[in-house]
Assembly symmetry: C2
Homo-oligomer: 324 residues x 2
């Protein structure tokens, strides 16, 4: 079943008891990052429909009282066996919520606790609309449309048709920059990643997954709007900042950060969604697609960094290597 | 008017149109940190009542569609003139929402956009229940009680009566540790701050305010539950970690992080709310008070660090010093 069919069936099954009242987005690490754009979308666009986003273990330890038969719980795990995520889906079912799971592993334990499971595509050669970030966003857009309507629905569908092409062109556009970035930043031990709006989650994701986990390099995400309320005091000539500039309503915050960084920071790398052509998407929904673009573009940056540092992206010293 | 009277008046004024439907918590930096426990509380305990937390500039740039006459918008700014926060309160009023503002400055611009303003007490010699974190939490507890009821209400009131005493004893208990911490960590250039549940916001707050802003030291907050999904790969013998261990439902996540840190991290400072006596509070609400305790305790830690580093907590190079 596709996204539309899944949500249609979920809505129908809950019709008798008032339909979908809450959407819970539950996962860990990189998979949780893939849920942030959907959280941002619903917080911005929804009226009655509630949304909550949780790292799976917290969802299990401190379960929202409202979790129940009117809840749609979306759980994502790439390998599909992350214990906290499996436990979250199991708990959701026990509380009579409807679960939609996403995984890349068709034998995942997660699927045992799914009312609907989506086996997603993965890798640079896939269409990003078949990857978890876009699928989860689509699930929430479809849910909003069916629960209370969403005026930007057709524009969003057009965005889905356009984004992969924007990304393909963007990848070619940054190829040279990635190599240059890797040369300039290969010996850095700490990076700050800035962004805003729908992309803040990916600033966090690039920090904890691409740098901390995959490169064993210190990193921290800062919201472009929060930067001026404390964090900017560490800005200097030596500390590297990566700024992902959004197209859309929150761009003004990214631009303000850029102006400050250009004056006071010595090492800045800017990835600008507008310059990379995302403006081709409908204005009413373009902001929700910024992180989809950034994810693919930043994969090029991290690959170049991994290559020049001779630290393969798969290298781990703890994850899957020791007991924890 | 006290918290109870304010919410009673707000509820009464919205009776005719269905009462309070959403609570928006809006501020910047340290004031936003003070709102996190209230966000965590409502996300955990509320059924129909919705909650959203926003850095003020994002609230203004990407205003939630639902913001309107049924919205209670709580805005906090210590100096009361933070442009983004003043703009957020102004916008909320324009959208016919009810605003409750908190500030320490009785001549603050913020007050011009307040339906109700709370002038709060500040400083080590004040009772923490008169400080913004506890006041904002109380406003949300009172709102939940009046909108849909809260079974733990009496326990929460008891917690408010007890927490200041727990903190006073805790301060004495850690005095020696703070001096020792400062000696051991005075030359560190990067700290990771871990916590979970209601205290995650304060892990972020200690990182961006106490360390980045007030000490010009690099720092990053990590959720204890997320630590194992990427961040822990940077754990080594040299990188300092500060773990704030909660009493209550999410403690299990903090304990798991502690077990790992004790085995693989060389530099760890643990602040344990249970050991500091917070268990004296009613079990049904104790978790919501962890960050109130941690805030006061961590003020002792940062003061010791500022002292030994000869870097006064008031020192700024950008904030209020340059244009941005």
């Amino acid at each position: 079943m596709n996204v539309n069919e899944i949500i249609t069936e979920v809505s129908a099954s809950l019709q008798r008891i008032g339909g979908i009242g809450q959407v819970f987005l539950v996962a860990c690490g990189g998979s949780l990052v893939d849920m942030y754009p959907a959280k941002y979308f619903l917080e911005s666009e929804a009226a009655a429909l509630q949304v909550g986003m949780y790292t799976a273990n917290e969802f299990v330890c401190a379960t929202p009282k409202i979790l129940g038969a009117n809840s749609l719980v979306i759980v994502c795990s790439h390998g599909g066996d992350t214990p906290e995520s499996v436990a979250a889906a199991k708990l959701a079912r026990e509380r009579r919520a409807v679960t939609v799971t996403l995984t890349h592993n068709d034998r995942a334990q997660l699927i045992e606790h799914a009312d609907h499971n989506i086996l997603y595509a993965w890798g640079n050669d896939t269409n990003v609309i078949d990857n978890p970030m876009a699928i989860i966003l689509s699930l929430c857009v479809e849910t909003l449309r069916q629960v209370e309507g969403f005026a930007g629905y057709q524009d969003f569908q057009q965005g889905l048709r356009q984004i992969n092409g924007v990304i393909a062109a963007g990848r070619r556009q940054v190829a040279g920059r990635c190599a240059d970035f890797a040369r300039r930043f290969k010996d850095e031990s700490l990076f700050y990643i800035l962004s805003s709006g729908a992309s803040y989650g990916h600033a966090y994701g690039f920090a904890i997954c691409s740098l901390m986990e995959m490169q064993r390099v210190n990193a921290s995400a800062i919201h472009s709007g929060e930067y001026f309320h404390g964090p900017f005091e560490v800005t200097d000539g030596e500390t590297p900042f990566i700024l992902m500039m959004n197209e859309g309503r929150t761009r003004v915050m990214d631009e303000r950060a850029l102006t400050f960084l250009e004056q006071y920071a010595g090492k800045v790398e800017v990835i600008d969604a507008r310059e990379l052509g995302i403006g081709a998407l409908p204005p009413s929904v373009v902001e929700f697609f910024n992180p989809v673009l950034f994810y693919s573009i930043m994969c090029e940056y991290r690959a170049a960094l991994a290559d020049i540092r001779h630290h393969p992206l798969e290298t781990r010293r703890y994850m899957g290597q020791v007991a924890y």
